[in-house]
């Protein structure tokens, strides 16, 4: 073994934990999320005979006898409950009612004493072409259905892409709202976090520790404690409203909770450290004498800030903003508890599909949409920050 190759091996060994970690916790989950969102094998796997027969069906006439027989044969052959469950879930998600229909059908087919002659005799719903259409549409191993639905699109009977009806198109609105709330929170964090970081960086000793500790505090408290605290502060008879009324600023209580205001306040509170810390860490690397230098050269404090401190700390602001924005689009418990009905964010929809209805395809598709948006944003950030240091 040559010295060089043994060295390569050794360094690979050192890198192994990192590689395993990256693959196990980043690459693999992302890959499986994406493949979940487009792969659709659940139905085809169990219904091979029906797949053959359905290929000849004209997609709108009532089901023929061969179709029914093929499906009955397929269903009788199924012996894996979990696979059956996956198929039913997939079909029910396309067409409500499949769960009970399939449950009824499979238990009727198990009846060996007097076997049913056809499916329609088990349940009238088998007469309707819609149910067959749902099966026919689910027979390809790959689908764009989830990805389309994630942005409120779908295919009509003819297979063309079109907008979903308004009572089903909610993702687009919620996605836009998610980005809007995240942007507002980011803006609020910049407005509060930037001066905060400047003050913290200009202090030293215990005062600085105190300021940094104070901003980190929300990260260390549990969500429930935090939520309870916001409730006490923000409700109509809460501390803030009482205080404002006591000093005569307002007559009627402000609505600070169960609306957008409350969500922005609460999320800004939690995410502030992600803004303050990057800015702070950039600020403390800026030499202390630049602002005095600017003043001695005749710059008014405001102009000195705009020309010197702001451009130098912009990178901290940009990475803080990115951190806050990306964390914010993933929030859902805080908006759910503090927000009103129109403050629901996309993650709560993802959570519903994932844990509530085990529809991993839809959850994955929404995840992909969110991931793509985040990556786009990151590329903008990377472009900006490379421009900034471009001259170096």
């Amino acid at each position: 073994m040559s010295a060089a190759s043994s060295r390569t091996r050794r360094s690979l060994l050192l890198l192994a934990p990192l590689l395993f970690f990256l693959i196990g916790f980043f690459v693999w989950p992302l890959f499986s999320m994406m493949s979940q969102s487009v792969s659709d094998p659940a139905v085809l796997r169990l219904l091979p005979r029906s797949a053959e027969v359905l290929a000849d069906w004209d997609r709108n006439s009532p089901p023929t006898i061969p179709m029914q027989t093929a499906l009955m044969k397929d269903l009788k052959a199924v012996n894996d409950d979990q696979a059956l469950g996956d198929m039913v879930r997939r079909l029910n998600s396309a067409r409500s009612g499949f769960r009970t229909l399939m449950g009824k059908t499979t238990s009727a087919l198990k009846e060996t004493a007097n076997p049913p002659v056809d499916l329609v005799s088990i349940d009238k719903r088998w007469e309707k072409p819609e149910f067959w259409l749902a099966i026919a549409d689910a027979l390809s191993p790959y689908t764009d259905r989830n990805l389309l639905a994630a942005v409120d699109l779908g295919r009509n009977a003819a297979g063309d892409i079109e907008h979903l009806p308004p009572d089903q198109s909610v993702n687009g609105v919620i996605l836009m709202r998610t980005f809007w709330i995240a942007a507002l929170v980011t803006f609020a964090c910049v407005c509060i976090g930037f001066p905060y970081a400047i003050i913290a960086a200009s202090l030293d000793g215990w005062k600085r520790d105190l300021m940094l500790g104070a901003v980190l505090l929300p990260l260390w408290t549990s969500l429930l404690v935090r939520t309870a605290a916001w409730f006490i502060l923000l409700q109509e008879q809460g501390l803030i409203n009482d205080l404002l009324r006591a000093i005569g600023l307002i007559d009627a209580p402000l609505a600070l909770i169960f609306n957008r205001t409350g969500v922005i306040i609460a999320m800004t509170h939690v995410l502030l450290p992600f803004m303050v810390l990057p800015i702070y860490s950039v600020l403390i690397t800026i030499p202390k004498n630049l602002m005095p230098a600017a003043a001695s050269l005749g710059a008014h404090p405001l102009r000195a800030f705009l020309r010197v401190l702001l451009p130098l700390s912009l990178r901290g602001v940009a990475s803080g903003a990115l951190l806050v924005f990306i964390s914010a689009i993933g929030y859902y418990i805080t908006p759910a508890l503090i927000g009103g009905p129109s403050d629901q964010m996309i993650s709560s929809i993802i959570a519903f599909y994932a844990t509530g209805s085990a529809n991993w395809g839809m959850a994955g598709a929404l995840g992909v949409v969110l991931l793509v948006a985040t990556l786009l944003l990151y590329s903008v950030y990377a472009r900006l920050s490379s421009d900034e240091v471009g001259g170096r």
């Binding site: 979990q82 409500s96 919620i174 129109s342 629901q344």
Partner: protein, 350 residues
């Protein structure tokens, strides 16, 4: 240099080996999962600890927030780290159809006829019967609401309302408020017109609704006066009355009750012990202790008869409370939950 390399490999191998060896040596103890909070504290006292003493082994307990996806991912991953889990009726139906649960050994449980019909299932044994009902503060409202129509009537009862954010219960309550009789609710909701009617009724109340998401929130809202009345879980209301001396009232007519069940996860390591545990938790003498802590109804008929009248008047299963209550239609919701949730979210977003 070579020795360093070798010892590195050895160390890595040792770690891998020991990880492989350690796991089977320390077999996992029976793990029971329930809904957390006061309810699980009570269960720990009357079920988990005594059972652990009886078998002479530790019993671990964990809390969860529900969701069939959680169960599915645990079972699909193989060797789930939970054994006995308390689930809601839909999770029971969905998971049973999908083969996520072990079949229940009903002989161990003492026979199906010992239980209420709704508590008997191939995959699950009923654990509690609980209601979602109107709740209000008896100290603030002397003349309280008696029906969902009153709940919708903001002229007669001024103030905000709170409902759970989601289509389940909400749509049923809207139809009840709109005058649909309790026996026809699910027939009406099964039609497109019925769903539209429910949403139309919700439109009326929408500006006055504060939505809740976690079970503790409605109590908080009532206590702070944020809302005048709310939907709430009956057990929580009775709990806060007892622990904090509140005078919150539960309106049982028009409430919807459902059964939570114990299930055993498919191929769980301690599946036999889990069945034993469920049998233990279903014994009349054990179950009868529950209402003292939380006001949930008991699916074991004999247990129900042992509850002192003082406690039993608060239970959903009390005959006076049961008369005008409605059982949750699980089949309807497993078929329609996904579409109606999507529609509900779209409606909320408008």
């Amino acid at each position: 240099m070579k020795t360093i390399f070798k010892s590195g490999v050895l160390a890595a191998a040792a770690v891998v080996l020991s990880a492989g060896l350690v796991a089977p040596v320390f077999a996992r103890d029976l793990t029971v999962v329930s809904w957390g909070g006061n309810y699980q504290d009570a269960q720990r006292n009357i079920y988990f600890k005594p059972f652990s003493e009886k078998i002479g082994k530790p019993v671990l307990d964990e809390a969860w927030d529900g969701g069939i996806g959680v169960i599915q991912s645990k079972v699909k991953a193989g060797a789930p780290n939970w054994d006995a889990v308390q689930v809601e009726a839909e999770e029971l139906a969905l998971g049973c159809a999908d083969g996520l649960y072990e079949k229940i050994d009903w002989d161990k449980m003492g026979g199906k006829d010992k239980f209420l019909d709704s508590a008997v299932n191939d995959c699950g044994v009923g654990a509690i019967v609980w209601s979602t009902a109107i709740a209000y503060d008896g100290d603030k409202l002397k003349e309280g609401p008696t029906s969902w129509a009153d709940f919708w009537n903001v002229e007669k009862f001024p103030g905000k309302r709170s409902l759970r954010k989601g289509p389940k219960y909400t749509l049923e309550f809207a139809l009840l408020a709109d005058g649909v009789s309790k026996d026809e609710i699910y027939d009406v909701l099964g039609t497109e017109e019925g769903v539209a009617r429910a949403f139309k009724k919700l439109d009326e109340l929408k500006p006055n609704i504060v939505w809740w998401e976690s079970g503790a929130q409605p109590l908080q809202f009532l206590a702070s006066g944020e809302v005048a009345m709310t939907s709430a879980y009956n057990g929580r209301i009775t709990g806060i009355n007892r622990s904090e001396g509140k005078n919150f009232k539960v309106v049982f007519p028009g409430s919807i009750y459902a059964v939570d069940s114990w299930v055993v996860l498919k191929d769980a390591e301690n599946k036999d012990a889990a069945q034993d545990f469920i049998a233990f938790a279903s014994l009349p003498e054990n179950q009868a202790k529950l209402p003292e802590f939380v006001a949930y109804g008991l699916p074991n008929k004999e247990a129900a008869s042992k509850v002192p009248a003082d406690f039993s008047k608060d239970l959903p299963t009390d005959s006076a409370n049961m008369t005008d209550a409605i059982p949750l239609n699980v089949d309807f919701w497993i078929d329609n939950a996904e579409t109606l949730t999507q529609r509900f979210n779209a409606w909320l977003a408008q």
